[in-house]
Structures are given as C-alpha cells and as structure tokens.
C-alpha cells in the first residue's frame, strides 16, 4: 500500500499488525504531495529534484565549479528573482491602477497615501525594475567575460540578447504609467528617437503611441504592453533560455 508513497510514507507506516488510521492518512497525504523525505542522502536528494515540478528546472547534478558564487555571481538567478518579484508587486499595483489619463495619476497618489503598504510596494516595483536592468546587463557581461556563449551555446546567447531588450522595453513601457511630468516627457523623448528611422520611423512612432503625441492612446498601449504582452514574451524567452542552459550543460569554472 505504501509502496508508491516513497520513503517518508514507509517511515510513517505503523508497525506490522497495527495500523493507525490517522498515521496512515497522514502518510498518504504527505506522500501524495512530496514523493520523498528530506534530502538526507544524495540518492533521496537526486530523486526529489527529479520528481518535483519546481525543482526540475535544475539538472539533478551539476559540476561543483559551475555553481560557485564567485563564478556565477548569482546574476542570472537574481534577474529571474527580480522578474518574479516585479510580477507579484505589479499584480498588487494593478488592483489600484486604472490606465486612464484622468485617473492614473490620482491612482498612483492614492497608492502613496491611501492604500496600505501601497507606497512600499510601488517603491519596490520601481527599484526592482531598475535593479533588473542592471542585473541583466551584468549577467550579460559575466557570460561574455567567461566565454560562456561559445558553442554549443551560441543560440542561447541570442535569446539572452532578446531578453535584455525585453527587459529594457518592460522598464520603458512601465515608465509612462504614473502619468506624471517625468513619465510623459521621458516617453516623449524616448519615442522621438524612433522617429528618425528612415521611412518607417514616423509610422513606428505613430503605431507605438496610438497617435501623434503621448496621450490616452499611448497610455493604454503602453499599459497593455507592460502588463500582458511583454511579460508573456519575456516569460516564454526565459523558459527557452533556462531549458537550453540545462540541455547545453553548465559551463563551469575556467
């Protein structure tokens, strides 16, 4: 009966001849959620990593030199962590924010002065966004200086470049949303650069802003890009990025 429940259930099962229904239930419940007990031995640890959905993003074993903190500087992991943190804090902000030129600014003011912890959450979203731009940049530099982009990882470097662009666009599209002087004029300056492309430039700017200036059309476009389109693109690229890190193998120390 306890065969499929793994080590923990076996440990928990009552002595032969005496079946405690409560213990059997707990063993079944626990065993159905966690297939293995604590990682007391390498064998149990390996099986846990293999059968757990959230851990299976990692290979079961890696070279010791590949996960040295002095080698990775944790930069890729920190970028992903910041992305998750930004998703969670962003979700919270979305409950209070209406992407309308009449209401957006007041919503942000309310976040600062009315909503419980709204100020801290908004601050955290802002600083984590700046932090993510920095960690992604540094991650790219780290990978370059260690030559980790060399075959067979050429394409994963290309995906990483797209992830850097996605990060910049995510930050840029979020910049407009508070609808204050800083936001509107930064986006005006930023999108003016697109105008200079030959032939396509003015059309690209018009498409991006939904009009000739930064107004309601731009706000709703940037909002949808910021909360749906770009996070989805980023997430998809990240999934491929991580999958390829696993399949191509970790580079390890020099």
């Amino acid at each position: 009966m306890t065969e499929h429940l793994g080590d923990y259930a076996t440990e928990m099962s009552a002595t032969p001849g005496e079946v405690n229904p409560v213990r059997a239930f707990v063993a079944q419940l626990w065993g159905s959620i966690f297939r293995h007990g604590l990682p007391t031995t390498d064998k149990v640890a390996a099986r846990t990593a293999l059968t757990n959905f959230f851990l299976h993003i990692h290979p079961v074993r890696v070279k010791r030199s590949a996960i040295r903190v002095s080698y990775t500087l944790c930069l890729g992991g920190l970028s992903f962590f910041l992305f998750i943190l930004l998703t969670i804090t962003g979700l919270f902000l979305m409950f209070y924010y209406i992407p309308s030129v009449d209401q957006a600014y007041q919503n942000v003011k309310d976040l600062e002065f009315v909503a419980t912890f709204g100020l801290v959450i908004r601050n955290m979203h802002r600083w984590a966004a700046h932090g993510m731009v920095i960690t992604v940049w540094l991650h790219m530099a780290r990978v370059f200086y260690q030559g980790a982009y060399k075959p067979p990882r050429e394409f994963n470097w290309a995906i990483g470049t797209l992830l850097l662009l996605t990060t910049l666009l995510l930050s840029f599209s979020g910049y407009l949303l508070p609808w204050d002087q800083l936001a509107v004029w930064a986006i005006t300056v930023g999108t003016n650069m697109a105008k200079y492309a030959p032939i396509a430039g003015p059309y690209t700017r018009y498409l991006l802003l939904g009009g000739r200036g930064v107004a309601q059309g731009a706000l709703i476009r940037f909002y949808v890009l910021h909360v749906i389109a770009l996070p989805l693109i980023g997430f998809l690229l990240m999934v491929v990025h991580f999958w390829r890190v696993r399949k191509d193998g970790f580079t390890g120390g020099l």
């Binding site: 260690q146 030559g147 004029w185």
Partner: protein, 191 residues
C-alpha cells in the same frame, strides 16, 4: 577493450585534455549477454559534481532572500519619484529619457539622428546576437581572448560613460553642465 575519451558537449575544447584512467569492469566477462560490457567513461573533472538540491537551491534561496531584504530596506528608505501631473503644455527642461536610454540621447547630441537613433542601436543589437558566430576562437581562457575582452570592455565603458554623462552632466536644454555635480562658485553646494 575500446578506449573512450569523454568529449562531452564541447567542454574543454581548446585546452589539453588529460585522459584519465577509465573505470572498467573488474570481473571477467563471458557469454553473449555480456558481449559489450558497460563502460563507465568519466573525466576526473566531471566527477566533481554535487546534487543541485540542496546545494544550488540553497544558494538561490539565500541570494533571493538577501536581494529581497536589500530591496525592502531601499523601498522603505527611498521613495520612487513622482512629479506633478502630466501636462503637455509645460515641457520640463531638460527632458530626459529613462537612464538606460540616456546614452542614446547623448549619442543624438553628437551624431546625426539617423546614425544615433537607428544605425548605432541596430548595429549593436545585431552585432551582439552574432557575437558567438563571429568569435571563432574556441578557447574560454582570458589569456587567449585578449581582443574579444578588450573590444567588449571598450563597449561597456562607452555605454556606461554615455549614461553617466547624460544623467549627471547634462542640464538645461541638455547642455553640458559641471555645476550639477561640482556646484557653482556663487551658489551653495548642490551635493
């Protein structure tokens, strides 16, 4: 007995591969079912592995925790900027792009717009994507990659320098201004 030297997935290319003694079955093999005995082929450096759970997961957890605590302290101490409500009739002076695009804005000051706004960024993005295909040097050791490292360092320094100039040394009408950082002789120090 066939000798197999672990090549892996391109690991260690470009450096001398020391072929280590291979583990081989100690018992004599006979019979058709053991015609091809299992060979365990491993290089010594590949044997230095650890289980990711908990070794790697623990590090990730610690790094995430430290980052979270740091961000929490920063978020409690420093408020995100929020200026006056947007007003298209009042242009702030200077109007600057977000800091990570200020480098581009700085380029726009110095080069024709088609160059600075379109040609340079496109070139950088395409060149970055193509880097692994252009760099044919198989070695990963820094002493073998002096040119690549020098070029990338120049690129990084330029990018950072343009951003620093754009953020700290550009003032009214995006003109060069030392006084924002070093103060003005006639005014109290801004820092």
């Amino acid at each position: 007995m066939a000798t197999v030297v672990g090549g892996g997935n391109g690991e260690g290319r470009g450096r001398a591969t020391v072929s280590t003694p291979l583990t081989r079955p100690t018992r004599p093999v006979s019979g058709p079912e053991l015609a091809s005995p299992p060979l365990v082929v491993r290089r010594r450096e590949e044997e230095e592995t650890v289980v990711t759970f908990p070794h790697l997961v623990w590090r990730e957890f610690l790094a995430g925790l430290l980052a979270f605590v740091f961000l929490m302290v920063v978020s409690i101490q420093i408020n995100a900027p929020l200026l006056q409500r947007a007003n298209t009739a009042i242009t702030p002076n200077p109007a600057k792009a977000p800091w990570y695009f200020v480098g581009l804005q700085e380029l726009l000051e110095r080069f024709p717009p088609v160059m600075a706004g379109v040609a340079f960024p496109s070139f950088v993005i395409i060149f970055m994507i193509l880097t692994p295909y252009i760099d044919k040097n198989p070695s990963r050791r820094p002493q073998d990659r002096k040119v690549a490292i020098a070029l990338f360092t120049v690129y990084l320094c330029l990018a950072v320098a343009f951003i620093v100039v754009g953020v700290f040394f550009r003032s009214l009408a995006f003109n060069w201004d030392w006084t924002r950082i070093f103060g003005h002789p006639a005014l109290p120090s801004p820092v």
